[in-house]
């Protein structure tokens, strides 16, 4: 026994623990990326019948429905290709990409410079591709009389300074602010652009989500909460809007126009909370990964973007 044995077991242990942790996360979207290193590890063989191979995509919960749609279409056209997608959160996808366990990280926020540094430390070179756009809608229960809010009011609600709906023109009822957890790119994006009011003259980088804000593990659960709860407020991507919730018109400044989220208002930039959606790959995409991303960016691919409620690039 002694050292040698311990080394081997060390590996085994890490494997056990990592798988264990993944099982813990399984509820947030079954993850099938296990701790096996696949540096660019897709077996690509282009033959006359078409492409074969597999692509592993992990990341944004927001992008998940769109990626699934793209992947289904792409697999229909190329029967030899299998694509697996899971959406526990942008941060998760980026962390996996840095650790080298997946091929594409889908993200609803740009990678941070610290994340680029971590990737480079491990000898990886993440390359960014914008694949679609999204408007972040702010939704309340249809029974809530509030129809519009300013960015500053939203910041007040999510930092916990505004706690009653009557402070923003609603009923006398406590506000239940619902957020995604820290795994989520939407959480990070909303924090920067709404909570900290980046891009307005009131920008304050020290603001944080208030301690009473609910942190939920999935976007759908947040939408369900708002559908059930008259006092709740949440910020799902445009693709998650249903008839059971009411999107609010957002004003960038108190005097500005109130704009409802839609594909058109996001595209022309008049809706203030819109953002890019990204795919990150190891280096410039090659082989089937390139074909897949090319498909996503093609006219057909961008048509799917509109169909599923997101904002196409063109």
């Amino acid at each position: 026994m002694g050292l040698r044995c311990n080394n081997k077991l060390g590996w085994l242990l890490t494997l056990f623990i990592v798988t264990g942790l993944f099982i813990g996360l399984a509820g947030c979207g079954g993850t099938d990326a296990v701790a096996t290193k696949t540096e660019q590890g897709t077996s690509v063989t282009e033959s006359e019948q078409g492409m074969t191979g597999s692509i592993k995509i992990v990341g944004s919960n927001t992008l998940e429905p769109l990626s699934v749609l793209w992947a289904e279409e792409f697999m229909k056209m190329n029967s030899g290709v299998s694509i697996s997608i899971s959406g526990p959160g942008s941060g998760v996808g980026i962390a996996y990409l840095i650790d080298g366990t997946i091929d594409i990280a889908q993200a609803s926020r740009a990678m941070k410079s610290t994340e680029y540094d971590q990737a480079r430390e491990r000898g990886r070179d993440p390359v960014e591709t914008v694949v679609a756009m999204d408007a972040l809608s702010v939704v309340v229960n249809p029974a809530n009389p509030v129809n519009e809010l300013t960015i500053a009011q939203l910041s007040g609600i999510f930092t916990g300074q505004i706690t009653n709906w009557n402070e923003v023109g609603g009923n006398d009822a406590p506000i239940l602010a619902v957020s995604r957890d820290t795994n989520s790119g939407t959480h990070a994006f909303f924090k920067e652009h709404v909570v900290q009011m980046s891009g307005t003259d009131k920008e304050d980088k020290t603001l944080e989500y208030g301690p009473k804000v609910l942190m939920l593990p999935s976007t759908k659960e947040g939408v369900n909460q708002v559908a059930k709860n008259e006092n709740a407020i949440f910020y799902p991507g445009l693709g998650y809007l249903t008839d059971e919730v009411k999107p609010l018109a957002i004003k960038k400044t108190a005097g500005g126009p109130a704009v409802l989220p839609s594909v058109a208002t996001a595209k022309d930039g008049s809706y203030p909370i819109s953002r890019n959606l990204y795919y990150y790959t190891h280096g410039e995409p090659t082989g089937i990964i390139k074909s897949y991303i090319d498909y996503c960016l093609s006219t057909d691919g961008q048509k799917k973007v509109t169909e599923s409620g997101y904002v196409p690039l063109k």
Binding site: P174, L176, M215, P217
Partner: protein, 313 residues
């Protein structure tokens, strides 16, 4: 082994070779079992070593005092702050709710099973209750989300049904089977002449259960309760789904909260291996491990005492 009374040379010879072969098989199996046993111990030790190795560096960034008593947990901010007080208090609240519900119900159920119900009913009911512990926690979480949380919200007139209370109630269902099963074993281990003596003195059945059986089995029941608590502290999926996940230090169990297990599960995906958040989450894991270890050790001690008590009598 059958040996004929008058063995000839040949039978003795074949018997010997047979024995030798058996002995080889025995050796093989013995070493196999030994290997399995030692492996599980090494794996366990390895997990502990890993917890310490990955978790302790967190205290270089956040001093232990601030880590335990800090109330702000912002892992993805610049600079990140790690204070686990909200998670710790949440875990306490949820465990308290689970215990308050599951202990009276569990012990009463155990007393019913061991003292009152006929053997045939017990043989059916007990395995069914034990089966309850086999429910995947994600299913319990789902039930809590869909059925219990609206009920809790309307009953207690709360702002949201996702709260420590909901989580505690779901957890009480999950620790109930352990409490029932272990307490029932403890109650059945109480010698029959205790009961007979009690009845002989004119005690009713209720008095016998309350004043004789339960006190004699108390250490076993305590162990059962500790094991149930251990289960409740360590449960993750259910609390992640229904506890609400607010980061404030909860003042009452009716508030949304995030216990330690949920904090680990909801943060680990986002944490890059070896980063600050990763270390902080491992440090929470380490603390959680020490808590459950303590609870289980106490349970073990108490169970041991119960066994010794009846060995003497």
């Amino acid at each position: 082994m059958q040996v004929s009374k008058t063995p000839t040379a040949t039978t003795v010879g074949s018997l010997n070779s047979l024995r030798r072969r058996w002995r080889l098989g025995e050796k093989f199996i013995e070493s196999w079992i030994f290997l399995a046993g030692i492996l599980s111990i090494i794996v366990l030790l390895g997990i502990i070593v890993l917890l310490f190795k990955e978790g302790l560096p967190a205290f270089l960034y956040t001093p232990p005092w601030e880590f335990f008593f800090g109330t702000r947990w912002y892992p993805i901010s610049e600079p990140p702050t790690f204070g686990i007080m909200p998670f710790f208090v949440s875990t306490l609240w949820i465990t308290l709710v689970a215990t308050v519900i599951s202990v009276p119900v569990g012990v009463a159920c155990a007393a019913y099973l061991s003292e009152i119900t006929p053997e045939k009913v017990r043989e059916i009911v007990k395995p069914v209750i034990e089966l309850l512990s086999g429910f995947p926690s994600v299913v319990m979480g789902f039930i809590g989300l869909m059925l219990l949380s609206p009920l809790v919200q309307s009953t207690f007139n709360l702002n949201t049904g996702l709260s420590g209370l909901t989580a505690g109630i779901m957890l009480s269902f999950m620790s109930l089977p352990i409490i029932v099963s272990v307490s029932e074993d403890a109650l059945r281990a109480v010698p029959d002449y205790f009961r007979q003596a009690s009845y002989a003195l004119g005690a009713t059945r209720w008095e016998t259960i309350w004043h004789v059986c339960i006190p004699s089995a108390l250490s076993g029941i305590t162990a059962a309760i500790m094991l149930g608590i251990g289960r409740a502290i360590g449960e993750t999926m259910t609390v992640l789904m229904v506890a609400g996940g607010a980061l404030a230090v909860p003042a009452s169990p009716a508030e949304p909260m995030m216990p330690m297990t949920a904090a680990i599960a909801s943060g680990i995906g986002n944490a890059v291996r070896g980063g600050l958040q990763y270390q902080a989450l491992f440090a929470i894991g380490l603390i959680l491990f020490l808590i459950t270890l303590a609870v289980n050790l106490i349970a073990d001690r108490v169970l041991e005492r119960q066994k010794r008590k009846f060995m003497r009598t």
